[in-house]
């Protein structure tokens, strides 16, 4: 089972940049075509400093920032992992060109007896700070369920 002693364990800080072309590709893949996501001039007319990222865009950073070693240390059954829950807490939207330091950690670990056996739950937390100002911009929490093999 996942070791509860790993709660609070931090991953080495990662770095991420909100690149305009990646933000546009993300909005287009979702089919969310708000002008503020696609057109810098429109975003500025709406009062933003630059192109705005859609609310679930920080997910893109989490895949870059999650430490695979920590993931393996958790001892989850990788074949049986399901994304169960996702939460974002925002201080403000992400703007194109911003760079972030991403701090990741294990937020919680618990288990539950399911119909088909024991399920392990793990919540990872990632906090994004703007690199220069150290301003806290977002927190993301991802809960995975793993069915024991």
């Amino acid at each position: 089972m996942a070791d509860r002693n790993l709660i609070g364990k931090e991953t080495p800080p990662g770095r991420a940049e909100a690149k305009a072309e990646e933000m546009i590709a993300f909005a287009q893949a979702v089919g969310d075509l708000q002008p503020e996501y696609l057109d810098e001039a429109a975003a500025k007319r709406a009062g933003f400093q630059g192109l705005v990222a859609p609310p679930t865009f920080p997910m893109r950073f989490l895949f870059d920032a999650l430490d695979p070693d920590l993931f393996f240390e958790l001892g989850l059954n990788l074949a049986g992992i399901v994304h169960a829950e996702q939460e974002f807490i925002y201080q403000r939207p992400i703007i194109a060109g911003e760079k972030f330091v991403i701090f990741g950690k294990v937020h919680d670990i618990w288990e539950k007896e399911g119909k088909s056996g024991v399920l392990d739950f793990v919540t990872f937390e990632a906090t994004g700070l703007e690199e220069k100002s150290k301003e806290h911009v977002f927190t993301a929490r991802m809960t995975l369920i793993s069915r024991r093999a």
Binding site: A25, A29, V30, D32, M59, A79, Y90
Partner: protein, 145 residues
């Protein structure tokens, strides 16, 4: 998109405009994989998905969440600010599904002069299967401000 919504216009129990997406196409799952960086083959590789016991590839949960996010930001307008957004994935969305997202205001209050609204969120397929359930907190601009 219609005009900006203001705090004073919203009441508890109000529904926000629903958003209908789809039918989902496999090509959208491929685009989303590339754009999000989530290359789990279960969403893009039919052979892999079937070997894992699924009837076909299926949408990333985060794509379903993105649809709900689109509904929220369409509604709150450029002056609205999303403070918190949380979902639980209860069923997967399949290629061909039409996903309808809905939201209802469950709380409407002032805090330190800010107008805040809490919404209950849900997405369903055309068959009525709930794919996503969630909640969001949004700050709306005030007419008086």
């Amino acid at each position: 998109m219609s005009g900006q919504v203001y705090f004073e216009d919203v009441h508890e129990g109000d529904s926000i405009p629903a958003l209908v997406k789809g039918p989902l196409e496999r090509i959208q799952l491929v685009k989303y994989a590339g754009a999000s960086g989530d290359f789990n083959p279960i969403h893009v590789d039919e052979v892999y998905a079937q070997a894992a016991g699924m009837k076909s590839v299926f949408a990333h949960g985060m794509l379903s969440m993105a649809f709900v996010g689109q509904m929220l930001t369409d509604w709150m307008g450029p002056l609205g600010e999303l403070k918190r957004f949380q979902v639980r994935f209860s069923a997967v969305a399949w290629p061909g599904d039409v996903i309808t997202s809905t939201g209802t205001t469950v709380r409407h209050w002032e805090e330190k002069g800010e107008g805040l609204v809490e919404l209950a969120l849900e997405s369903k397929s055309q068959e009525g299967t709930v794919t996503v359930k969630g909640a969001a907190c949004v700050r709306l601009p005030r007419r008086s401000a």
